[in-house]
């Protein structure tokens, strides 16, 4: 079995995710980009899991953990975004500079 294609796909998806996190202004889209990065990691995990073909399917199981944690994370993240939007009528991350000096 050849994993190269999967690794290329994962790398592309991760790069798109990084791009989205760094560039998008909308907090929702930043969260989505994080999901993209996580998805890229999952592809890598599943691909390597199939390639190694171990008895306990550690790669696939770990991917399931990642999906679970990602769901929890996006839940909290969206809740924060909603609250910020309610308070400031904007979800633009450029304007969220409360942690400034």
């Amino acid at each position: 079995m050849i994993v190269n294609q999967f690794l290329v796909l994962g790398a592309l998806l991760f790069s798109i995710g990084v791009y989205g996190v760094l560039v998008r202004r909308n907090a929702v889209l930043v969260l989505l980009s994080i999901e993209l990065m996580l998805a890229a990691v999952n592809i890598n995990l599943v691909a390597f899991g199939a390639y190694v073909d171990d008895a306990v399917a550690a790669g696939q199981v770990f991917a399931l953990f990642v999906i679970t944690v990602a769901a929890a994370e996006v839940g909290i993240g969206l809740a924060i975004v909603v609250l910020i939007f309610r308070n400031r009528s904007s979800a633009n991350v450029d304007e969220l500079d409360l942690m400034k000096w």
Partner: protein
Amino acid sequence: MTTLLGLLALAEGGEHAVEVVTDPGGFVGVLADFAWLIPVVPLLATFAIVLVGKRLPLKGWELAEGAIGFVAIYAVALLIANWVTPMAVEHHIEISRIGSLPGLGDLVLEWGWVVDGLSIMMFTVVGVVGFFVFTYAKGYMEGDVRFTFFFASFSLFAGGMLVLVIAPNLIQLIVGWELVGVASYLLIGHWWEDHDNNAAAIKAFITNKIADVGLFVGVIILGITVGSFRITDVLDAVARHDSALAAVAFWAGLGLFIGAMGKSAQMPFHVWLPDAMAGPTPVSSLMHAATMVTAGVYLVGRMFPLYQTGGMADDVKTIIILAGGATLLLTGLIALVQDDIKKVLAYSTLSQLGYMTAAMGAGAYTAGLFHLFTHAFFKGLLFLAAGSVIHGVHSNNMSDMGGLRRFMPSTYKTFLIGSVALAGIFPLSGFWSKDEILASLSNDASHGGGAAATLVLVLAILGAFITAFYMTRAVYLTFFGEYRGDGHPHESPRVMTYPLWGLAALAAVAGFVNIPGVYTPFTEWLASRIHVMGDHHAGGLNWALALIGTAVALAGIAAGTRLFRRDAATQAERDRFRIPVLYPLLEHKYYFDDLYLNGIVGPIKGPIARFVVWTNQVVIDGVVNAFGAAARFASGYVYGWVDQRGIDLAINVVAAGAGEAGGVVRKAQTGKVQQYAGALFAGAVLLVVGFLIFS
């Protein structure tokens, strides 16, 4: 057997020595070996009272009373032991040694205790009289602001006297001597809120200090000449007629006697004693009976062979007898014109001390100390009774008293017993001791004492008349006639009257321990010393002198009664006109105080004060001001240059640098999440690249 031997010796009327035991065994030995407790217990009580006295239920009185009670019991036990077996025990503990002084050998400082007839007699007087006075003082000082401190000082007073009495060497004697001095200062000035009391305390202290110079000189001469400060070593040197000592003995003896004149208030050092009446009455009582004024007579008694032995300081005896004679007559006369009841008694004490000193000067060791012994009881009693009167009428002046025998029966009766004892009426104690002194003086007059002794004998007989006269006057002015004061006099509480009766009993019977030719245990007590005292004492009752003495005393009482029985107060007023020349002289106490103040203190004080002021203003202030100016200049320089321009500059530069750096670095903290994330990813990429390159 001993008594019989004593009688035989007495019959000769000369010197005799008692067989003394220097290391008694058994219980008596233990008693003698632990006699160091006698001064130590009251001194420990002093410290204990100062530390915890105020927290005790009786405010420290119980400690003082317990300590003096211990001394009294111990002393009486020793007295009985000494009565059975005459002893003279000495112990020395070396404290420090200054080696090999040129021409001196080793100078040894020792602490020790001597238990012989003389010291035991003094323990008994201090312990027994002290016990009564301490008991009485509880009632007298009740409610005083410094009740606790009073008893601490009182205990120190008794303890200091006991250190003095128990001392086997002259250094320890000086320590006790000064302890007594400082305690008397504290007690005379006990009510220091009143300036007069302060002045009296200072006067007593300074007068004693001046006389102490004589004591120090005498002690130094003896110590250097003999090479030891032990009294036994000095007396050994006297006994073997040491020629080196004989050369200086006159000056040593004179020095010691000047010290004794200070403490025993002989003319011309007597001025402090009447002023010492400023203290509370129990202090006067203890001071006059047992603890302070007896010290001088005791010192002469302790060093007696020095004065007595031919070739030694026997020339001083003439000075002693004359000082005693002058004091006994002149101060007795002053007592005639005093209004303050305590001052009458104070001058009476001076006069009686004159008797003791005169007896010592006549070479009558036993007679002088016997009068000390009996005088302690009746004078202690008279002061306590006077204190009881003062307590009852709140005044010291007899012009505020009168008629008190109806209000204060116990005080009246005991005062009367004391007065009769002091006047020397048979068979009370004063009769025996005064008669013994008269007999000794007459003996000395016929055995080399010469004109001085004859003169003093006449003075002493005159003094007996005066004594009886002024005591009669005091009794009539105080207890007879109409009450002249304000308020309602009342009898004192029992804690005060019981000690009066105790002392009255002793004052009545104390004379029976030395009936010449019949029963003389007192002579034996005092003779139980290591050295033979060379004492002249009467071999039998001198009937002629006893009759003269009694007759004169009765005449004094009769004259006093005749003058003061009716309208005593106005009579006392009329004294002023009755004795035109003498009265002003007596009223001003022969101008001694004026002489000292204007003649000695004034001329010295002025220049010294001016010199001190000049030194202070010019020398000391100049130095202080110069230092101040220098310090100001130096501190100005330090402030301007070192602090402001040196240290502050460095600190400001560092602070400014830190501020600038902070201003630059803080720009990195943008608060924008995406910039942080970018940095994070860039870092990750850099790490990866680094791994790829370097692995």
